[in-house]
Symmetry: none
Subunit: 231 residues, 4 copies
Amino acid sequence: MKFIPVLYIMTLKSKYEFKIIIEVQRMMTKRISLKETQRKERERLILDYAEKALLEKGYYDMNMDEIAMGVGVAKGTLYLHFPKKEDLVYTLVEPKMQSFLKSVEEAKALPVSPKEKLEFLLNRELSGAFFQLLMKSSPDMTTIFKSREAEVNDILPKIFSGIHDMLSEGIREGLFDPELPVEFMSSAFINLFEPHLYKEMVEVRKMPLQVFNSHLSNLFFRGIMDTKETN
Amino acid sequence: MKFIPVLYIMTLKSKYEFKIIIEVQRMMTKRISLKETQRKERERLILDYAEKALLEKGYYDMNMDEIAMGVGVAKGTLYLHFPKKEDLVYTLVEPKMQSFLKSVEEAKALPVSPKEKLEFLLNRELSGAFFQLLMKSSPDMTTIFKSREAEVNDILPKIFSGIHDMLSEGIREGLFDPELPVEFMSSAFINLFEPHLYKEMVEVRKMPLQVFNSHLSNLFFRGIMDTKETN
Amino acid sequence: MKFIPVLYIMTLKSKYEFKIIIEVQRMMTKRISLKETQRKERERLILDYAEKALLEKGYYDMNMDEIAMGVGVAKGTLYLHFPKKEDLVYTLVEPKMQSFLKSVEEAKALPVSPKEKLEFLLNRELSGAFFQLLMKSSPDMTTIFKSREAEVNDILPKIFSGIHDMLSEGIREGLFDPELPVEFMSSAFINLFEPHLYKEMVEVRKMPLQVFNSHLSNLFFRGIMDTKETN
Amino acid sequence: MKFIPVLYIMTLKSKYEFKIIIEVQRMMTKRISLKETQRKERERLILDYAEKALLEKGYYDMNMDEIAMGVGVAKGTLYLHFPKKEDLVYTLVEPKMQSFLKSVEEAKALPVSPKEKLEFLLNRELSGAFFQLLMKSSPDMTTIFKSREAEVNDILPKIFSGIHDMLSEGIREGLFDPELPVEFMSSAFINLFEPHLYKEMVEVRKMPLQVFNSHLSNLFFRGIMDTKETN
DNA sequence: TATGAATGAGACTTCATTCAT
DNA sequence: CATGAATGAAGTCTCATTCAT
């Protein structure tokens, strides 16, 4: 059992003491909980809460106090897991970049056409992991990532070159317009993961994800298609 | 005993089932009570220092840096106790107003003559709590308390009307001069708490408080006495 | 003719220029206006405006910008007349103290009873010059006057001792209660000039000044009267 | 020509007769125009520097000290031009939104096909003013603009609906794929202004702007083209 | 190990005062 | 002389981070 006191006193005029306990129980208390498991779990909780906060408020408006309170741990505990605010955020972003990279590599390895490879990537990553790109795009993140330049520069270029390869392959196979520079295509492809369109269509207008994906994929592939092949 | 737990849950992750127990209790656990005691002590230290500073220098010339330094804590610590400078000062003034009001009400309830009621009030409050009136009188305070208008307007009018009532009672009973407007009397009575006279006589010239009080009370009651009654 | 541009632009969205001229004409353009006269006049305007501001807002909430704007001169011009904000305020207060002192001395010299002397003083100064005492009482002023200690200490003691003398005279003549310390009486007398009572009665409740004065004088003199004389 | 003189007289001494002349005129007097020019110039310098800082570091990492230093003025001077940090940034963003809106309206009014209208818009605004969208997209900006909600909500919806109209027109004329929701198209169109692609291609890889534009326009219009019309 | 009170650097902003025009 | 833009010291307040318990 764990206690999570979440307390926000608005204007306390009383001279008396009080203690508020919010008792949080897990849905299933399986008791397999070794210390390390607990640690991981808490880390998960922190990261989940932080992700939401980051997306909603941005790096600067999300503060450590709020996260500690939201997760139900002390601020000090946060710092046991993540020595810097920056670390917390980077820990959030890094696995998303890794997962994206993994998807890129899986896509590349598929025994299908380049177009289908890219569509696979789009389907796989659209719904969740394009997070990092949002992050990378925010000017804040640029600042934050400066201190992680080495690590970031290990992952992102691999992602870009993977995409680049699939697009080049498509050009070589006469599928994609050879007059469009590959870099242009790849940047535009990356842009598809940009969260605004997704948010607007899927979250606000409730367009089913599959429909959204198919529109997006149509838009892009028609756009880069080699139209001379139809002649 | 009165408990005011004000709970404001901001955004709790919802993967868990919540059971909320609001357990309100007096200081019992040693650990907590110790901390809480320390907290109170520190708050006392801050308030004491701030009161001195406020009286000596006024609201604007007293600055948070100086208070922090004087108390021996960091600036941030001050803000842990009092979110705004204003709050610090208001916390200083509010209990004095409350105490004054309480004394007024006690005085009113006494089964003695109006004159004795007012004398009781004078004796009770002269030595300490007339602070608020100094405050209210300074033009700064008027400005500062604008944001606390509601609270101030809850207390002060009660004080004034309480005094007004006792004076009216005295007039009806033929003790006080009916030709003096009650408002005049009550303003003059309030003026007795003005700290200059007190400071000069009691603090500077070391007049015993009781002597000071009796002079003051003499001065006032002779002043407002209905002299025609002797005819 | 003089131009006083008083301009407060709220949210200017226009890309165009504009100039606003407020032309202020004197009621009677006597053209006797030597430079020095103009200078004096402006100084008068500044002081008048500053006095109002000081009374309404206190020392810190009244700012030089506002005064300059209110008077219709540039901020720099203010500083030609008064090198420091402090100087401006002191220039405001000083003549009031002087005038008060003069009245005290006139009162003392009158060939009438001490009570009548003090009543003369009350009548003379109540309506205007008790200003300085308000000032002296505000904690701000204490700070400000620190830099003028020498000057202030030249005037105020004379005032107090003048009043002291008249009261002592009254005691010697058997008019005032010999059991009340003279210092107590004099402080209480000074307190009569405290502006709250005046404001409340005369300004808010529109009590005629003469009535107010007579009440005040009644209150005080009955209060300090030697009641044994009636025996 | 439009003049917006907004006059707010705060408390003018009333011993004088006033004649108020509101004389509105264009820059004529050399002196004033000189000063005004200087003012404008300095404001330009500040805005330029701030824009750079904002783009590089984001709202929170750009600080007023740094900008003042960078521009070579004192911090106070900054606040002479822009009362709040927010104002500085909004002043940066607002004209870009306005210019974009204007371009949208011009585009709509052109006597050409919807596709050509949108291409005109793309050509016109790509190189400079898509700034606002970057801004609007950053989570910070969402926060910042909360205080300007009214103003922002006056401009942005007009932009979106203008684009929406041109796209709908295109669908009606059988140019654009009727199976793609207009909202999808318009969001995708807006996305074209997203600065990453531009930066990468034009600024980093030095692709000529016209080439970049033509690629972009190709990509988009092929993407949304109604392909069934060729049948 | 977990806590949360304490810290203090640093951000924004104000305003008395100066000074070039 | 008069002006008012420019200055910068100083104040309030926030929040990432530390550390004694």
